[in-house]
Symmetry: D3
Subunit: 249 residues, 6 copies
């Protein structure tokens, strides 16, 4: 809970991801939930996942440009379903390489969108080096965007809270569910967004099961008395910075 | 944020501590804040701190019964200032010894007070073995109180969130501020409660400084734009179980 | 892989668990797999889970003796399905209390069964204190059973490798899948054993989903080229002691 | 234990190291063991260790080219003794600098050798920054080699298991022996390979003592009953990815 | 305690910092203490902190060159008060970027100053990426400076002990006080040095409070009997390498 | 380094161990070093190691009383060689059980010997549960001995620094060498003391090798320029509480 008694503009969420599909599998519920409240959500896709996450298309003989276009189109449709805007950085994946130039473009996006909340990958992923690279640039840009001495357009930002969404193999990536977000009411929307990603159909069931399992955990941690539906769906997040609270709850 | 749309009874907070003064130094702000909202707060003091935290009295030649009475009286006055009720278990400190009997008495208190929030010591304290002992019994009792098969009066409880308050030497005790609670509006109350503890006057300034320092951290983590007062006071807590959320903030 | 060129007796597995159902949910595949090879498997149930894991029966108004009998009967049927023997210690759950006497009975079981492999709970479980208590006694008894100076019947044992099976909330319990065991060929047996536990029907689907998810991880960690079935099922374990190997694989 | 029932080609091991001598001291036993089974072993030496690990030669007044040639010759002789092939990347040490180009050359080697097992340095070494740099590139190349979208010759590889060999100061480098490999039968071969490295004669006794100590640990972890020789020699490894198993042992 | 029976030159301390003010807030006491014993202290400021730590000046409309000059002048005055020399690398902050060239300049400084002790930032700081960047270069240069094969002027150095000074938010940066240095006798000097940093006046009180708090910890860890002054002031450090000792104390 | 300018009594070291031989293998050098300076050293052996560490004697058919007598005699001779006094608590090993009574006897010993330094086992040892039990009682007694309210003879003690000596399998016990003590000058004495322990002759060479290896580490961490002998011998320790220092070195 923030101290925000900010008057006018809607709350803003910025999602910084390595590949075009990440925001759907890992944070689609959070995105849909914010959008359903009339908040602004912007997804930064640093790459299209054209090399590392498009095996099926490569095996089908498609070319690089074609694959990028397909991934872009899929991501745009999924973002539209969720109610988010999406920006493509086309920085090249596998490997995604950290650079001052790419970080600077992210600083500009921070200053443009002025996020109240930031979502990104956690620090580790032994199965995919692009995710930690996106993580590091997202956090570095967040720091730089706060400094009045850092050049560029737009006003200096605050220090928005950050949430790390769940990686594909959480226990191997040091992931611990520190926040369980109830996404039951937007579950159908997330499912529809997942179904936009035709190239990875095998993940639909996988992430549906995960939402169920996190929902069970949510109910177990919430106690039996809260009238939660038996079909509760949830997403898990880490919270690397202290929560600022006016009440313990 | 819980899903509570519970109708009637006020929210309930249970604070489980080893010694009579712990709740004041470490969680006085959280207690006062909850009380100021009309919530019920119950402090369980497992011991009076008669042996381990009353050096001045022993040096002054007082006896055991006298010291216990003095500590009880101080704690009752401080609790009254904060707006909390206090229960003394008189289990004997230095060492406070874990036992099934004492844990069972805590289960009964859980079932009586039906807490929405539990505060207790963190797991480690290399300077005081009573604190981890209280921690273990507080968590064990919380589990047992949820089981319909565990005998005793009162209804089974839910699984309330737990917060660990800050130990005297946080870095040596594995303490990391995961929640920073803004206690500015009840700061004067906490200070008055601290002043009830005459035997430990040297700690008044120490915990005032700590509240200032945690306040600075709160403001730094909240970003510069939130209109927080320059004299923000805060208390820090750990949150061992996942936060249940309806919104990322 | 052990260096065992032991001649005659079949390999022996000892499973030490807190409650009557634990071995089914968490290690049923490993048990069935060993039994399917003609190995001996012995399950030690320190309690029936009569207080902490039988909420439905308590709510239905059953009494303690009745619940114990029901749990015993269910566990015996499940063990028979899996091909294991089961020993009940009836030590009382919620809380399961560590004691020298109970540990000594475990030492005797170690010396009787002379296990080549030991399975038990991991060290942490913030949702259930009985599991860590069983863990500590299982490991302590394993050490004592090796000492010629420790009194009791039977010969001194070796130092069998230990595996910790997966807790209900792995990320909250410091669990990391260090071994993924392919249980595809005995999956139907495990499912049948789960269905013996009528009191916990809601867990059947949960642990089926988990087996699928661990199977996906197994395939991902094994690489794409190994001809693994798409319906691979797996169980995850930790390995607290070094693996003794004759080959890196 | 892998599920390999691969038909024709011999198993392949790839060892990725920073300096020309690393594979001998740290993994010579594992290399000799695999070779003794008729398997293919390829050692990638990213540098000759010409600046950081050749102090004696510099002190003797030798020049850079001369030192490189000497280290190459020593490493080739040691590799021949162990039964491995060796590839020199000559990337320059002290510091060894990560680069996309060097990583790409490693990807090509992965695709050429198609390893069933990968050995490399662990993630940390506060005494030598080249070791972690080699580690990061070895792991990154392993990921890239699996992606059909990553350009280059050769077929996509699987996801071979990885083992980290023991650094010079294990406790300072977060090293924990997760696998103890029995190298007794190839110990004489490892010793001969070490003796090829004349420039570091002071390490012969050091790594002999280490093999003895790891052998004692192996016997202690294997239990007293396994008929292991009193002169058991061992090497220790970490296993960062889950072991895929068909049996717990 | 080192084994130094070095004859002639005074002991040398090298402080490697990211920004011009860091050495004052975080290590001013250690610097003043060494200088007060007639030792040589050299501070390397990799940047002036012109972008990231000069918000007030930017808000006042000053330009980059002007801010750098002001920060340089402040740092020089503070260093003079403490008794240290200061070197400015002007490498550009926010972000401070690691490079081989900058590391090489640090190697040269190591070889010139031949430090007996090195102070620098700890490895983590989620609030400022320049601090970890300085940390990594300081440690890398320390390794390279020891290698006779690394080119450059000056003799090879030894392996001086390293101390990490306290970051602004210690608990969020993995900081644990492993050494508490008594700076009581130079406290006034440190305070005067802090007062040279007019741009950050709000930190004077903050770091005074910290010195008091660390002083309390020092006394608590030293035991009650040591005749320490009630106004003991201290600074905290981590020690990443083993202490070399001739006595346990 | 303590602030002690205590006048008269010699420094006092207290070593709290589980079994009769522990102090020789793990801390014999530290003990001999302190004694060689004329300091008082007291070794508390909580048990004789009669069950868990006397396998050879049991196999030889000796009885309990006989084994205890033999272990006592060996330990007394070793202590005499090292220059230490030894106290036997005869609390029974395998398992050594924590108790308030035994802890109280340790408190009395703290108050009698008034240690300036305490040595004991580290917190973990997966191969021997008695070591952690001794560790916990040693630390608990140290806290209680400081409290004026804790009953018993003798004056309240200070808060002496604590050092954990090295367990038999350091990497499996979370042991990290934080202090390397140069024991070269008393090495012959330690070797003689080890040779008093005839029942464990196989450990003589093992702990000699360890002393050599820790000596190599000491020299590597001390840098090449310190004129340390090539036959440096060392013991490694952890330091759980902050070092109190007047100088960084």
């Amino acid at each position: 809970m923030t101290h925000a008694n900010a008057p006018a503009p809607p709350r803003s969420t910025l999602v910084v991801t390595a590949h075009a599909g990440d925001f759907v599998w890992r944070a689609g519920g959070a995105v849909a939930l914010a959008a359903s409240r009339g908040e602004q959500v912007t997804v930064a896709c640093l790459t299209f996942g054209e090399r590392g996450e498009s095996a099926k298309a490569w095996r089908a003989g498609k070319g690089l440009a074609e694959i990028k276009a397909m991934r872009r189109e899929e991501a745009e449709r999924a973002a539209a379903v969720l109610g988010a805007g999406v920006r493509f950085f086309d920085a090249g994946d596998y490997p995604l390489t950290e650079s001052a130039e790419l970080t600077d473009r992210l600083v500009a996006l921070y200053r443009e969108t002025r996020p109240d909340v930031v979502l990104t990958h956690p620090a580790q992923d032994p199965y995919n080096g692009d995710h930690p690279a996106a993580h590091r640039m997202a956090l570095q840009a967040r720091i730089l965007a706060q400094a009045v001495g850092y050049p560029g357009d737009g006003d200096v930002t605050g220090a928005p809270p950050v949430f790390f969404f769940e990686p594909h193999q959480p226990e191997m990536s040091g992931f611990r569910p520190e926040v369980l977000l109830d996404i039951t009411e937007v579950w159908d929307t997330k499912r529809k967004a997942m179904e936009c990603l035709g190239a990875q159909e095998h993940l639909w069931a996988y992430y549906t099961d995960l939402a169920v399992r996190r929902g069970v955990q949510l109910r177990r941690n919430a106690g039996p008395n809260l009238g939660l539906a038996h079909d509760t769906r949830a997403e898990a997040f880490m919270r690397p910075f202290p929560q600022i609270a006016r009440e313990l709850a």
